[in-house]
Symmetry: D2
Subunit: 381 residues, 4 copies
């Protein structure tokens, strides 16, 4: 077991989650590399120092370049705002260091394509943080689909819905100000990633996006909201299935509405992240009066569950998803083999987001492949 | 309590349901008119006679014109295949008799417009059979929305999904042969009607429709399927909300997937016909750590429940929906006042179906108001 | 199809339900006998006349003896308060008329034994109204158990819980005044009947019963409650299984909490009347990572469903249970063969209730067979 | 932040969980003490060394006495089989070291009383590992009950059911051989602890316990099972409520059936560990036609959630419960103040288990206070 110095940029929600994961991953999984919490970066030196103490890092900085260039930092985790992703990732790649970047990869498709090209040219390990797809239940969903148990997929109904802006009086802040931080930019990538992972590439789509509350209380009175509250799209997958996907930050009552229903010619699946330890499966080949959706509680026979707990139904949680990501990142570094989802996969998600924007603007169906330079045409996996 | 002679055309699934309802409605509800099962019509004289005996009708016929013209038949219920609706309804209207027509009203928008115009010109009572919206739970949903309890509606997610053609080997029969009997023609009207009833008129939409299994086993080998298996559309409502609606007859595991989620600025609703005695409500105005979706079990305090049962949670079923329709039809006849949903309302559903077909064909957004002659522009109620 | 004059005693909740059922049963099912609503009896002549009009009966009376003796009344349905059951039933039996009596059969075990003995001696058709066990789902539960699909039953967990007296300020009325109308006397019989029907005879039990709110607001100030609010018992079935059963009228939030979980050596079942169209089944013989409780939606392949509706998942409701009872009563009359549940079956339920009372009083386990005269030792079925 | 050397005895299921928790706790929570994984003990030296490497401990041993006596081990976690608890705990107490012992505390009530007396006399920090009660949802349940939101509790229905021995052919091993490792000894303590925590002390109870499968396949043919498969009890709490509790290891389909329903005079709660991130609450004081059980998804406003994640509904899992226990153990050590649940609390659970055994043997109600020496009469908290 070899130590690996890791630097984390960002000390918010995701920065903490990655810190917890770095501490726990080597005990949960049998990893060849053992991460060492080497340095953490925040926007102020004092803040960074406090977080280093709280999260258990050796050192801290308010300058991400110092972290990236530090010789003891052997791998970089980017958990800072999305507009910073490109610049930091390119620097880390230039330094030849493995880089894990939170979703969405770049703020724009162009950013993501640049990051992907750089990482692939340099040959450094690169990953994107789509954590929700890492639950044992969603991994099981993929296993079931890949094995053909539900036949050929014909329809996907999916959503990523939350309600943190459902209240019209919720005040404006950076989340309402940055164009890429609306429901489309911030929430849809998770469920688009799931759609691509579970059903395959999307060929064409038509979308509609909406700002429900056009102003919100600001420091100086009503302030214009600069991004979207909700949207949805219809699509056709390359494999022939059709898809209906919604995303929202104003879906009253929805806390973690990352959910999908996948209908195949031989069965169907349902999943809702709000009950993340269950996957619902229907086997329609039996046509039996004893059939119906069955609630499979994840357990040690399902992907990645056993490392956390030997008892079925005992359950994993949010931070366990990040621990699984950490395991994969360490494995990729150790083996030098790409592990899904790479920057290329993250870039494909950005391509769909760009297609949604274009479809919305043009009020028309768009062909996804027409977006971007097409440098990231094939997915890893 | 005055007797009213009723004639029922059709002895299948819906013909039987209406017969049961005619027997029970006067005992369940305090209706001024008491229906008498006067005559029933089937395709053969022997079949009609057998059904008259089984369902408790005085007389039978294999000629719907005889039924419509019979002086003892004072009101007509059309429960025959949709392609027959127009001709029968026009005859009943011409005879000046109140007419109840199963959904979808006409096979085409043109048919529905003709039927609506005829009924309104003649001034006869006319209704369409959208039974699912008549559960106490869905009536409660409307009450909640109308009273403003969930604020302004911003998103509707709805579906009518079943799985009776999920099996690719299910053989071809009339349901795969008549153009209007696909998922779009047969299933979508129910949920479109719900969308219009609960959220209001639709302004624009974009749709996609698909035949998943292009051939099915026929009497002489593989037979081409002449209608669609599934589809979906995005829409904008006149009130500003957006909607995502799916319909399918190949949704494995779905038996009665008439379901909707309605998000408002102050709360949300969820309903699934597979658990028809519950409505889920979230009140987001409280922003309380005690809030969440609550499962309201329908009871005597909710619309039309008390007549069936005094105990909450004891539940109503499919046939009870038809009894509620029968009560409304009798009331409309007695009062001479139109009761929702009239032919005009059914015609609006056909207009949406026509818009879906056009959007699919043109691969473009369409304005609903551009479809048809616009003779049925305003809804009743 | 031969007409059968029926008299109904009682015009409340259950009297109405039976009236609706008498109207509908002949159209829903193919019954050889067609019930005619001949006479209805209420406590006042005016009330009876009003209900005869409302429910569609030919005649009315305020004297149940007149109804029982009327030559046109060929069968009697007793839906009056339980303290009247014995006298009316004995009179109907004496008149040689088939009799259907609402649950609980007698107010006491002694009453039930007398009624059972009289009915059996006279050889008249006799039934008891345990309606909840008549849903297609609960009939399916029995089918599954009988066929051995879940193996040998080892545990039953069951309840009949409602909340109509959960509010301590709910006022006193006859339900708090009659000793037999507490949760034990009024609610437990339904779920005890289910336990006996699904798992078999009970050998021994130990029970505890409680009046939670000892006084309630009465017309002249606080009034003593004369019966119980809740209770529970542990039991051993003759077949070796153990059972835990609760009953309550103060179970906040429970509206129709007639529910059971049955664990066998090869699988398990779960049912809750609040979602009466679903039965949950787990097949544990597979030991497969794809197994879990599956939600079977009742449909035309399940017992008695097809007569109501051809579509699976469309659902039956409370009144449909009474229609099934009516069909059985008519069949028993036509065939002369006893149909479960007979008075003897109702008597066995009373024996358990008596055993619960005795166990509670003695603070000890009791042997059920030691209660009563043992005249009704074997169940029909 | 001061380091604290911790020794863990046991490298199975729970030993690993505690190791993960020791790694993560300081990053998740702001603890004054930072645990150092000092030494781990397994039954063989090689096994211990391997686990030390896998779990990230500095040193290892196959002799728990060495661990207990090691000066660098400042606190001891006992995660070894229950029959070893007493001896190890007494040694750790004798060494003056804080001790955390997995449930059940002792193998017998006598053991637990001895351990409690020793710990209290010595004044060392002592805790018992009842992890399930530590979910944010169950902590919220307690908060709701304590604040009076559901009024006075009148009924508890609870269970701890799993199915790992549902298959009659599952072979015999230590779990079927040690008298204290049956469903009563191993599973019931969790749910008894919940009952005591949520509803208060139990005054009297009556129980029944059963071995469903009396033999199981052993190495030399059928082997006698030496403990129980399932059982249940009725009880009266000191506060007046009644309780019905079941426990089973043969409950087909139940994976983590730690579940309770608590009915109060003003509302009710429901929880099932299989969906551990939700608590169901019904407020019956409103008597409103909008009321029903609401599904509260735990979030940062609920106990201990915020440290794991800022997003509501994102969910915690099994290992997070152990992290919360670790935080409490560290706090108790730092503050010197007892933190619930202490040995005294664990001893009360053993007292109930002993009462169940006695009630079963005597076929009689027993008074809980009559069991044991009564040295541990009052609970901490």
């Amino acid at each position: 077991m070899k130590p690996l110095g890791v630097g984390v940029i960002g000390t918010g929600y995701m920065g903490k989650a990655h810190s917890v994961a770095l501490k726990a991953v080597g005990t949960v999984f049998d990893t060849g590399l053992r991460p060492v919490c080497e340095m953490i970066c925040a926007t102020t030196a004092a803040g960074a120092a406090a977080k280093a103490k709280a999260f258990g890092f050796k050192r801290s900085t308010d300058d991400w370049r110092k972290l990236v260039d530090d010789p003891a930092v052997e791998a970089v985790i980017i958990a800072s705002p999305q507009r910073t992703h490109r610049e930091i990732a390119l620097a880390a790649i230039a330094a030849g260091k493995p880089v894990f970047c939170e979703k969405p990869l770049g703020e724009s498709l162009e950013d993501s394509e640049a990051m992907t090209a750089a990482a692939e040219t340099a040959g450094v390990v690169n990953m994107v943080g789509f954590n929700y797809i890492r639950t044992p239940a969603s991994q099981l969903a993929r296993q079931i689909i890949e094995s053909g148990e539900i036949g050929r997929v014909v329809h996907l109904r999916a959503e990523h819905t939350e309600d943190f802006f459902a209240d019209p009086e919720a005040p404006a802040y950076w989340r309402t100000r940055e164009p890429g931080s609306g429901a489309l930019g911030d929430l849809s990538p998770h469920i688009i990633n799931a759609a691509l992972r579970l059903v395959g590439p999307i060929e064409t789509l038509v979308a509609d996006v909406q700002t429900v509350h056009e102003t919100r209380p600001g420091p100086d009175g009503p302030e214009r909201v600069r991004n979207d509250d909700q949207g949805h799209f219809l699509c056709r997958f390359e494999g022939g299935a059709i898809g209906s996907v919604t995303f929202s930050r104003v879906a009253s009552g929805r806390k973690m509405g990352y959910a999908y229903e996948i209908y195949g010619t031989a069965g169907a699946l349902r999943f809702d992240q709000e009950d993340q330890n269950a996957l619902w499966l229907c086997d329609s080949t039996k046509a039996s009066p004893r059939e119906g959706y069955r609630k499979i509680l994840t357990g040690p026979e399902h992907p990645d569950y056993r490392a956390f707990c030997l008892g079925p139904g005992h359950g994993t949680g949010y931070n366990d998803q990040i621990i699984i990501e950490a395991r994969d990142f360490l494995q990729a570094i150790e083996s030098g083999e790409p592990v899904w989802p790479t920057f290329r996969d993250g870039c494909e998600v950005n391509r769909i987001v760009a297609a949604i924007r274009q479809s919305h603007a043009a009020r028309a169906w768009v062909r996804v492949g027409d977006l971007g330079k097409g440098t990231a045409a094939a997915s890893s996996s």
